[in-house]
């Protein structure tokens, strides 16, 4: 579409100059129907990203005009221990929450994929928590994780374990976030379940004839055929984990004090939020946004690259 002289059939070409009357009319109509999105894409997507790049090169409090300072904000990150703390916390949380999330969703989906009469009930019950407000769930976890009157440590002590001070000990705070995130697993379990239902029954039947057991069948048939959906889940989960904000904010009370014991709940977006909206460091926060943007893209790209080695596509068989 960028080479106007290419010898393609005129009807399939992009660009209004060589289109017939009907195509011109369709192009005009199509663009008018999608115009809300087009406008939003430019005004609420492309422009803010470019503006973020510009602001990241300025000193800006949000009140007076931005002053151009070059890459100073980026140099500042390198020397900012809070920046590295936020990076560490976010990666630590992501590396824990994403694989656990995949495994939990897969176990629920596998259990739901059996011929059970009450399956509709399970489907609804596991899905429901994933649409409930995360801020309310975070309030609940403050109460549930209390070392004195909380449910979690009560259950742990019933089986002879001494539960930690979840929200007071920096070694455990991020586990609380991982627990909260698992309440969203039902949604992914339903996506996995749809994938499991799509695996042809003949594959399992012929594997049974060959004498394969349940584990063999899972690792030779189910898992390979599910890899595209698992990849999808990892990509979405990665993006959501890097953006985590609400539970960290609620569990720490959202003030300007340390974000949890030893800043252990200072997640990247929380750090960005504080710089921009509590400390008026809009230029620095814009530079943090650029870093988040680039790291998100790089990680997604790296996962796709890595997935090339293990994702199995049906179409590749032929």
């Amino acid at each position: 579409m960028t080479q106007p002289s290419a010898a393609l059939p005129a009807a399939r070409r992009f660009g209004p100059r060589r289109l017939g009357a009907i195509e011109r009319r369709n192009l005009r109509l199509g663009l008018s129907f999608i115009s809300p999105w087009l406008f939003g894409f430019v005004a609420l997507g492309v422009f803010p990203i470019l503006y973020t790049f510009y602001l990241s090169l300025t000193r800006y409090s949000g009140l007076r005009d931005p002053i151009f300072i070059g890459p100073e904000n980026y140099q500042r990150m390198a020397d900012d221990p809070q920046f590295w703390k936020a990076v560490y916390n976010t990666l630590y949380y992501t590396l824990l929450a994403v694989p656990i999330g995949v495994v939990v969703a897969m176990i629920i989906a596998l259990a739901m994929n059996q011929k059970l009469r009450e399956i509709g009930f399970y489907r609804a019950a596991f899905y429901l928590p994933s649409i409930l407000p995360v801020f309310a769930i975070s309030f609940i976890f403050i109460v549930m994780l209390n070392p004195g009157y909380g449910l979690v440590n009560h259950v742990l002590s019933a089986v002879g374990l001494r539960g930690p001070n979840w929200l007071g000990d920096p070694a455990y705070t991020k586990l609380a976030l991982v627990m909260i995130a698992q309440l969203g697993a039902g949604q992914y379990a339903l996506i996995f379940l749809a994938g499991l239902k799509g695996i042809p029954a003949e594959l399992y039947e012929s594997a049974s004839l060959d004498g394969a057991g349940a584990f063999r069948k899972f690792f030779s048939i189910t898992l390979p055929l599910m890899t595209p959906i698992i990849l999808f889940d990892i990509i979405i989960g990665l993006s959501l984990a890097l953006q985590i904000f609400t539970p960290a904010f609620i569990l720490t009370g959202g003030g300007e004090r340390a974000a949890g014991p030893d800043n252990s709940l200072l997640m990247f977006v929380y750090f960005l939020y504080r710089q921009a909206f509590q400390f008026g460091q809009m230029g620095y926060a814009a530079a943090l946004s650029v870093v988040l943007f680039i790291v998100s893209l790089l990680l997604a790209w790296a996962v796709f690259k890595w997935a090339g080695g293990w994702v199995y596509y049906e179409s590749e068989r032929s």
Partner: protein, 304 residues
């Protein structure tokens, strides 16, 4: 003789018996154990929220905790509503939810129509671009958007000169489409036979009349999905109202509960009672419309 008699059946029955128990485990009992244990873990937070909401403050702080309240204090619910400006927060949440939902339905149906029912050159390429934006982490642009909205005049709406500290930055963007809802509606509209549009055109209907009178009514199941997803997402939203709204009288429930409780040291039983009242509308909507949620998941693959 006797030994061969008794041992003879063993090779045939033993594997058969094992297979039987294995089948019992994989087909019925084991999955049910996994599901029920899982369900208890998934439901425990909401059970805990509810019983914490009806306990007295003394019982709520007792160690070890009581799993069933000794005294049921239903009065905690009216107390929570009166202690926290719950009505104001709930009304703000409702206004935002209705505004955002209207925006989502109006814009996404139009855009999805343009991406599915009209054959224009370059359409699919633009659609892929639209889908690609799903992967843009929203927090990346909050600083820039905040600054942009801070420069847009609000002409005194909600007593504000700029869009900041009004509902506008929360509601207006909903009128410019959401790639997930566009995808969902487009998939549905692609499945409507082309002949229906052609017949309407033969009868002299314009493109917009075809959209409004023919396609929109047939798309209503998918519109219901978008309506419910958008409403729930708006009700649950936390970050955006936190950024843009700076007065208690404008807070929705999400931000209102977070700030009010940290500033006023609200007792946990009242906070849990308020949380129950926030969660309840979503649960009720879900119970009546769960079929749409399941459809949305199977079509879209993921919630916006």
């Amino acid at each position: 003789m006797a030994t061969t008699d008794t041992t003879a059946p063993i090779p045939t029955t033993l594997p058969g018996g094992r297979r039987h128990t294995r089948r019992l485990l994989t087909r019925g009992i084991l999955p049910r154990i996994v599901l029920i244990v899982g369900l208890i873990a998934f439901m425990a937070p909401f059970y805990w929220m509810f019983i914490s909401a009806v306990k007295t403050p003394q019982e709520g702080a007792r160690f070890p905790p009581t799993l069933i309240p000794e005294t049921w204090v239903w009065q905690n619910f009216p107390d929570a509503v009166n202690f926290i400006p719950f009505g104001v927060f709930a009304l703000n949440s409702l206004i935002l939810t209705v505004g955002i939902t209207i925006g989502a339905v109006v814009s996404n149906t139009l855009v999805a129509y343009g991406f599915s029912r009209i054959d224009w050159p370059g359409r699919d390429k633009v659609f892929y671009l639209c889908i690609a934006t799903i992967f843009l982490p929203y927090p990346v642009i909050i600083v820039a958007l905040f600054d942009i909205f801070g420069r847009l005049p609000a002409f005194g709406i909600q007593g504000s000169d700029s869009w900041v500290n009004t509902f506008l930055p929360l509601i207006v963007p909903a009128f410019f489409g959401n790639p997930f809802y566009i995808f969902l509606l487009r998939q549905f509209m692609l499945g409507i036979p082309r002949e229906l549009s052609d017949a309407a055109k033969v009868d002299g209907a314009s493109e917009f009349q075809t959209f409004w009178r023919v396609i929109l009514p047939l798309t209503s199941p998918a519109i219901a999905v978008v309506l419910i997803f958008a409403a729930v997402a708006a009700w649950n939203e936390f970050l955006l109202p936190l950024l843009y709204l700076h007065e208690q009288s404008k807070y929705p429930l999400a931000v209102g509960l977070a700030f009010f409780t940290s500033e006023h040291d609200v007792a946990y039983n009242l906070l849990m009672a308020a949380s129950t009242l926030v969660v309840l509308p979503v649960v009720i909507i879900f119970l009546f419309t769960q079929r749409f949620f399941v459809e949305g998941i199977s079509v879209g693959g993921v919630k916006g």
